[in-house]
Amino acid sequence: MSTNTVNRHPKQYDPLQYRLKLFPVVLAVVSFYIFAALFNANGIKRNIELMKYGRARDICLSLFSPVASFSNRLGLTKFRAMIETSAGDRIRNEKINP
């Protein structure tokens, strides 16, 4: 027995075409992770510092601290800090008070 529903994917499997299509997607996702880590390095470091004390926290901190200091040296973390102080804090502090 096999599933009888319509398969929406093309039936042929061409490894070369497959890799050619996959490569840009993987590159985009990896670039996204790298840039996101650099722009948000201080926030990620804060999150790691909030983890429970133990080996996992130590490993994460030792892995991520160089990234955070590199990002700070390049000034990339200023982008998020600038938005936080200019708009984010205002939104967070708004409240409907009776």
């Binding site: 599933t3 840009p24 205002r90």
Partner: protein, 479 residues
């Protein structure tokens, strides 16, 4: 493990990498994806993994037994066994406490001794979603709409597939099962759409839903007597936008993550507050649930093929059960009842008084027909839906009544303009769903991959900088 968290980001990049390495070898990919999905689910509470495994095993065995038997009585017996198992599990974990408490209250009111044990049962995350998916599989096999999965692991991967496991969409087996059974045929699809949906989902959840929850909805619903009509009204508008942004954000992210993994799942929302009738609202809101209820409950009861009276009964019962699906509380049942009665009334008006259905095509004549009437219908329907949200959000029906009572107290509005702007922005995000964003996604897809990564990272950073600290759980996790 919540989508907008660091731990999920780490989990996803590992799964994403290994997925594309293993996808051309299904015999390795399937155990890997099943393991990854179980890790994702077990992150909340590993004890509930047994539940999803039992649901998988029972449903698959029932489906196999149904497919192998030609005798109608036996087929029906296996179907009933699967229904009893799945609905029994859902009923025990989700409704046992509610029904025992309600029964105790009823017995006390009637002076009848009653001694059902009260158990403190933890509700497993996403149980309503995966049991419904399992039911759709068994029922479709029974109806001969599909044949069962060739191997149990195919069905297990389908049922536990992590992007849509805990808060939907409720993807039918006949849509997703063929894709997970042949992962080697999946392609990285539509990076523009995937990125657009994920970023839009993050924006809706972090900036809109979380902000509205902490700044307006929780204060107003916690102390309604402290506020007057304008703020209560704003509070319910804020909740309407919050629940839409919260739930549709999860669906958007689930669809986007699936696309990145090469799978295509259904859209769950399509500008619901733009509906002109309640029927149209349910064609646009939580589409996977409304179509599930239509296909597996409303139609089997007879739908609209029987007498008028039975059609109204079917509508009300369907909506009542849709309400009950959302949670074990009288507020949800009342919410479902309101929707059911309104929909029945809408049908009555359509069939008896109007020549054209309310949500039908707009005749191309005159300003009133083209703009005035649709606007008024949308305005009216939105406010009816908001009225029902009072009951959906409140702890008790009395609380909802208190809030509605406060609507008669006119006071000076307290809400700052910035919060009103956030509500309006959240309302407008519904037009960012589906095909309307296609142009933006296509533009994004034409950028070079590093540019795509950079732009997406910049947008993410802006979202994180604007949202409140921490991530609240999604509202629909409790259902």
């Amino acid at each position: 493990m919540l989508f907008p968290t660091l731990i999920f980001a780490v989990f996803f990049i590992i799964v994403f990498s290994l997925h594309w390495v293993l996808v051309s070898r299904p015999h390795l990919w399937k155990p890997f994806m099943l393991g990854a999905s179980y890790v994702f689910y077990g992150w909340w509470d590993w004890r509930f993994l047994g539940l999803i495994a039992a649901c998988t095993l029972a449903s698959h065995l029932a489906a196999m037994a149904i497919a192998r038997n030609e005798r109608p009585a036996l087929r029906r017996l296996f179907l009933i066994m699967a229904l009893v198992f799945n609905l029994g599990m859902l009923g025990f974990f989700k409704y046992y406490g509610f029904f025992t408490i309600s029964l105790h209250q009823l017995c006390r009111g009637l002076n009848i001794p009653c001694s059902l044990p009260l158990l403190d049962i933890l509700l497993p995350v996403g149980i309503s979603f995966f049991t419904f998916q399992a039911l759709s599989y068994v029922v479709d096999v029974y109806r001969r709409a599909m044949t069962p999965a060739r191997r149990i692991i195919d069905f297990a991967v389908y049922l536990a597939f992590f992007p849509q496991l805990v808060a939907g969409p409720i993807v039918r087996a006949r849509d997703l099962l063929p894709q997970v059974a042949h992962p080697e045929l999946c392609r990285p699809m539509d990076i523009g759409r995937a990125a657009g949906l994920i970023l839009m989902g993050l924006f809706k959840k972090i900036v809109i839903a979380n902000t509205l929850a902490t700044t307006i909805v929780e204060p107003v619903f916690a102390h309604p007597s402290a506020y007057g009509a304008p703020d209560i009204l704003l509070g319910i508008y804020a909740y309407a936008v919050q629940i839409y942004c919260d739930f549709s954000a999860y669906s958007d992210m689930a669809i986007g993550l699936c696309l990145l993994l090469g799978f295509d799942i259904m859209l769950n929302f399509n500008a619901p507050y733009f509906a002109r009738s309640l029927q149209e609202f349910w064609q646009r809101w939580h589409i996977s649930l409304s179509t599930f209820i239509r296909d597996y409950l409303y139609f089997p009861m007879g739908g609209s093929k029987l007498s008028e009276r039975k059609t109204y009964r079917n509508l009300i019962v369907s909506f009542l059960l849709a309400g009950l699906w959302h949670g074990a509380n009288w507020t949800f049942i009342f919410w479902g009842l309101l929707h059911g009665v309104y929909r029945a009334a809408e049908r009555f008006v359509e069939t008896r008084m109007l020549r054209h259905p309310i949500s039908g095509p707009i005749p191309a004549a005159g300003f009133w027909q083209r703009f005035g009437r649709p606007f008024l219908e949308r305005f009216w329907l939105f406010h009816f839906v908001c009225l029902t949200w009072f009951f959906f959000r409140a702890e008790t029906i009395q609380d909802a009544g208190t809030m509605l009572g406060q609507m008669t107290q006119w006071t000076k509005p307290l809400a700052p303009p910035l919060l009103i702007a956030i509500i309006i922005t959240g309302f407008l995000t519904q037009f960012g769903d589906g095909q309307r964003m296609r142009r933006g996604w296509n533009w994004f897809a034409r950028l070079n991959p590093v540019g795509q990564g950079l732009l997406a990272a910049i947008i993410l950073t802006v979202i994180l900088a604007l949202g409140p600290a921490g991530v609240a759980p999604f509202i629909y996790f409790q259902f």
